[in-house]
Symmetry: C2
Subunit: 389 residues, 2 copies
């Protein structure tokens, strides 16, 4: 069932250990579900209870820790040996007395790491404040270091197989976006459009099906387009509505996000103007991208291009993405924004989404792309324009 | 757009403040998205960046804090006045320098609560270890108390409107479950079944559509039924497969979960035996439920009923649920298990899911129910049995 060769997992663990050594960390508690998947293959909807990998410098394999009933999931989806699959009993779950991190602390002590330097993903989803406090309490002789994003930065350069999966995800999002554009019409309910989008993205193609994306389809319409993260209702579309459609195809947890905007005419002229500006800005920024330029320089090209229009965008225009679980397909490493001087390298992958939200409407048009040897390659093949009906 | 009367939100805030007073807490930082929705109405897929409500004893309304681009979402979905919608700028997002909780701390100080007792949801999803550390660092004169589940325990008794929404969610899950049972067959791909399930649960009925459930459809098949939380693949079902189907309908973020198991004969006799035992156990436990009995007593009835079969279940058989966001529809308050002596009261709502997972197979059959004045009422009307094809 492993989606990658064993050698690729070994390489990922090796790179992670190198970063641990550089950071002076002896053992990492890795709770980010995407990082757990990246290093071990583990894939299950069990991140609603505490779980983690414990990666120690002197052990070849990480130790998977999770709930008893999920241990068979680890046996089925990871490359780890039986001795490295450790499950806590059910009385640790949602208990006022016991906490799964007590069990993690016991393992760390038993393995001789109780007085070593422990790296924690302090700002990772699902690594709650209490997870941290319990480890600190149970391991009084350990030294703790914030290792948020340590593994995420290993993930930033994609392997050929990862890129292949993202290209498959792009086929899924093309199909789902076309479904959205086809179905949205006056008198149609938003929920019926989303039902068809889901059907498209998950049934996929004859050759492969789709996985659940880390974010549900975002389809604000009308005045709700003034903000990007509202989901659908069972209201019907009306003439004059603007509809933002932000989706991702997902294949083996790898994403290819894409946003487009559609108007049911008559739309305000402002929406047409905004869309033209966004497309011009994206075109200029994509043209500029090649290895060696920085994230900040990409954003500057966008900003300079749209400056003359009078529209402004205060937020970042994109971010690194790929493998992930809810609630986000972003990797939280590089952002395309003025403060980020990361140098782009081949096989980095981004979602460029320079959405602009005004007081009463907004437009999102986006592209996911791969940095290549000489420039960049857009994942989805879908007209980069405002759709008008 | 509010799904509840203003008076209901006021009542929820009042009850929360009463619990704060009882716990000696002056101000709560409420980061659990379900608790944010419960108190303010806020509804958006923005919990992938830090956000919260700040609830102060001497202010009528909570203060919503979120990212700039989501402020219009708060304006559109909450009952809060403009002065109580506070947004941080985009340079706080996924930054190595700034953190959104710095902004929260600034508000707490400015409102005169910098040296008061602050309640934190230490074990809530999305309230990361770093969120906590930043508040502690920025508010050195405050006293912090763990207030995990304080609001969740207010949510435990449902209002008539909440129950109405859960009944609508039950109509959605009946429809989606029927779709699953109808479509699963030899030679059909798992992803195509899930595509149809999604279509069913989201297009809903002519009268209302469905929202996204807090957990994706869980459909382990074959040996993957030995564990509950694996999702689908694009493999085809085979003769002899057992398929577990765990779904929830969701209406305005309120859930009605339901699990059933289906076999494509010839199935091992063990699966038939297991299903018969699970159904008998559920029947006995549901018959026993009425106000005044405890969660532990309900579990004991189940355990005693199945004891003679020789099968064992080590994990809890159910939990309180209702309003929620990914990754869980459970409320993390009451569990139906030996250690939980909570007394059941009218208008509590539970998912009873006594799944049993053996080494090579498993069975899940579940019911969501409402505690009534004299007993309990099951939400979904769906045959409680093993489905055989």
């Amino acid at each position: 069932m492993l989606p990658f060769e064993l050698a690729e997992y070994h390489e990922r663990v090796k790179k992670t250990k190198e970063k641990m050594v550089a950071a002076g960390i002896d053992v990492m508690v890795i709770a980010d579900p995407a990082n757990m998947n990246y290093l071990s293959g583990y894939d299950g909807w069990s991140f609603y209870v505490p779980q983690c990998l414990i990666l120690m410098l002197d052990r070849e394999q990480p130790i998977w820790v999770g709930r008893g009933q999920d241990a068979n999931g680890a046996r089925l989806t990871t490359w780890l040996d039986e001795e490295n699959i450790r499950a806590y009993t059910d009385d640790y779950v949602h208990s006022a007395v016991k906490h799964p991190m007590d069990y993690v602390a016991d393992i760390i002590k038993a393995e001789g790491y109780g007085d070593k330097t422990i790296g924690l993903e302090m700002d990772a989803y699902y690594f709650t404040a209490k997870c941290c406090k319990r480890l600190e309490m149970k391991l009084p002789n350990a030294k703790f270091k914030d290792a948020t994003l340590l593994v995420n930065y290993v993930r930033i350069i994609k392997s050929p197989r990862e890129i292949e999966y993202m290209k498959k995800a792009a086929r899924l999002v093309e199909k789902a976006m076309q479904t959205a554009i086809d179905y949205i019409n006056e008198g149609v309910r938003e929920c019926d459009v989303v039902a068809n989008i889901y059907h498209s993205m998950i049934s996929g193609t004859e050759d492969f099906g789709g996985d659940y994306p880390a974010i549900v389809p975002l389809l604000p319409s009308g005045e709700k387009t003034s903000t990007p993260h509202l989901t659908w209702s069972d209201e019907k579309y009306k003439r004059g509505d603007t509809v933002i459609i932000e989706l991702a195809g997902c294949y083996k947890r790898y994403h290819s996000p894409l946003a487009r905007t559609l108007v049911l005419e008559p739309a305000p002229a402002k929406v047409h103007d905004l869309a033209a500006v966004v497309v011009e800005g994206i075109n200029a920024a994509l043209d500029f991208i090649k290895p060696g330029v920085t994230a900040a320089e990409v954003e500057a090209v966008w900003r300079k291009t749209i400056e003359k229009s009078g529209f402004k965008k205060e937020s970042r225009i994109g971010y690194s993405m790929g493998l992930n679980y809810p609630p986000d397909w972003g990797e939280h490493t590089v952002s395309l924004r003025p403060e980020d001087n990361t140098v782009l390298q081949p096989n980095m992958t981004f979602h460029m989404i320079p959405g602009i939200w005004l007081d009463d409407c907004g437009v999102e048009i986006s592209e996911s792309f791969l940095v290549t040897e000489n420039g960049c390659e857009v994942f989805a093949n879908f007209p980069r324009m405002l759709f008008v009906k």
